[in-house]
């Protein structure tokens, strides 16, 4: 083959290699599927002390059963695999659509889906861990989802970031399932336990890691096991409960509000100024309904309470609260 001809073909090889790539979404989806399959394989097996003599009769029955159902077995296995794959895909489609909506149809929304796990505490739920590069910083979120009436619903989210100046860089969801999570750069951290539950630790990039655990307890103790064998009980700290009295004080000073309650506490993060931002929804009952004017996006319920949705509250370094509709 002539030199120039070979060079031309090799140049075309290079072009082909550049073009025959998987899209980022497809790559992410396959990675999610791999991790979901690994999660399934890693479920602990329970030991039983079943008397050996029964094994033979059970094995015989199983053999007979297999003989009977063998003709239709491959069909069912294929159906099951197909259904599992379809559920995974439906969840991924739902997640990406939600994020696309959040980012207002931006061509390349600045997020990366890091990890997905389905069937977390029941058959119809999932968690997703994703990294966002928003205007505040690089943040990592864990979100909990459930299927309701055949459709996926985004339930709750918690956020963290690696440059959080707060030494206790973890949080927990306050409704079941109690998902505890945190971000860490500490390479000495080997394991995390939430009560008796060992957390899963995910390497996000380089030294950036993220851990999470689903605990049956609302106020479980979080223990870090370090590489020197030292166990560090991370001080019980609950941002939600810390915020509650501050909010009560805030509304007590407002004469127009008679009562208030936090309906839903979503994620929190620390901004570049070291201030903590909370995302929450709350309800309040006006002291004087006739003269009460609601500013913002609340709605009035039949019970006379006003329900505000999607508010950001900033807790400043000076110890003051500020309300805003964006972080």
């Amino acid at each position: 083959m002539k030199q120039s001809e070979q060079e031309r073909i090799e140049k075309e090889f290079a072009n082909l290699e550049k073009k025959l790539n998987l899209s980022d979404d497809e790559k992410q989806d396959v990675l999610m599927q791999i991790n979901a399959r690994l999660d399934q394989e890693n479920k602990p097996r329970t030991k039983t002390s079943f008397p050996f003599k029964y094994y033979l009769s059970i094995a015989s029955m199983a053999f007979l059963l297999i003989i009977l159902i063998m003709p239709v077995l491959p069909l069912h296995i294929t159906d099951f695999r197909l259904q599992t794959k379809q559920v995974e895909q439906a969840f991924l489609d739902f997640f990406h659509e939600e994020m696309q909506t959040k980012y207002d149809q931006e061509e390349a929304p600045p997020y990366f889906l890091q990890h997905v796990k389905e069937k977390v505490v029941h058959e119809d739920d999932a968690i997703a861990i994703f990294v966002e590069h928003n205007h505040i910083a690089e943040q990592i979120f864990i979100a909990y989802f459930e299927i309701e009436d055949g459709n996926w619903q985004w339930r709750r989210t918690r956020g963290a970031q690696w440059d959080d100046p707060n030494p206790i860089n973890w949080s927990a969801m306050h409704e079941p399932p109690y998902i505890y999570s945190g971000a860490t750069l500490d390479q000495g951290l080997v394991e995390v336990f939430v009560g008796d539950v060992k957390a899963e630790i995910i390497i996000v990039e380089g030294e950036k890691r993220f851990w999470y655990a689903v605990s049956p307890k609302r106020d479980a103790e979080v223990t870090f096991i370090m590489d020197n064998g030292k166990e560090v009980l991370v001080e019980k700290f609950n941002r939600f409960y810390d915020l509650q009295p501050l909010l009560e004080q805030y509304f007590q000073n407002d004469e127009a509000i008679a009562e208030f309650t936090i309906d839903h506490f979503d994620y929190s993060h620390t901004n570049a100024n070291g201030e903590v931002i909370y995302y929450l929804s709350y309800s309040m009952k006006p002291a004087d309904r006739e003269n009460f004017v609601l500013a913002g996006g609340g709605i009035e319920g039949e019970d006379g309470w006003f329900h505000e949705r999607g508010y950001y509250v900033t807790y400043t370094k000076e110890g003051q609260l500020h309300f805003a509709t964006s972080p």
Binding site: M1, Q6, I9, E17, K19, L20, K27, L31, N42
Partner: protein, 170 residues
């Protein structure tokens, strides 16, 4: 160990998934199956993690991907396997060609590669497209050095013939 293996496999996926996908895609020419085999490759890498004896991770992953693909061809396309041909595999979903915009010359080259012997295609992908060294290629294919060199030479000649047959755009 499980966690460490898993983290490593995730890192390898980020570094090499495209390489593995492309390799399988050239070997079977089907986007969906290439994704499936790529997935199988990384799952097998996790399972066989303890048997990995160091060296080139990329080469090891290619070897797993190749075995997975060849197994598939042997079982599902025995005639193509017997005649050392690249099987014609098409799923019902979108084909690769419609996913990417290949120009005329690139498309001709892609088809020509898929019309030569499988062993020629194998060695051309590894050496010329993926740019692996002769040593790495010998390990992946299980051939000796001279077989890699000779097969590559013959493969390139055959590829040229195919391209001439298809009127490779000047």
């Amino acid at each position: 160990l499980d966690n460490a293996a898993r983290q490593l496999v995730n890192e390898w996926y980020r570094d090499y998934s495209n390489d593995i996908y492309q390799y399988v895609l050239f070997m079977i020419g089907d986007h969906e199956r290439a994704k499936d085999f790529m997935q199988e490759t990384f799952l097998l890498a996790y399972e066989k993690y303890s048997s990995f004896q160091g060296g080139s991770v990329k080469g090891w992953l290619f070897r797993i991907a190749r075995n997975t693909t060849i197994d598939f061809i042997r079982k599902e396309k025995p005639i193509a396997y017997f005649f050392d041909q690249i099987p014609n595999v098409r799923s019902d979903t979108t084909s690769t060609e419609s996913l990417v915009t290949l120009n005329e010359r690139e498309e001709e080259l892609y088809h020509a590669l898929r019309n030569i012997k499988r062993s020629y295609c194998d060695v051309i992908i590894l050496r010329k497209i993926k740019g692996l060294s002769i040593e790495e290629t010998t390990k992946i294919l299980g051939w000796n050095e001279s077989k890699v060199k000779n097969t590559l030479l013959r493969g390139l000649k055959d590829l040229k013939k195919q391209l001439e047959k298809e009127g490779f755009a000047q």
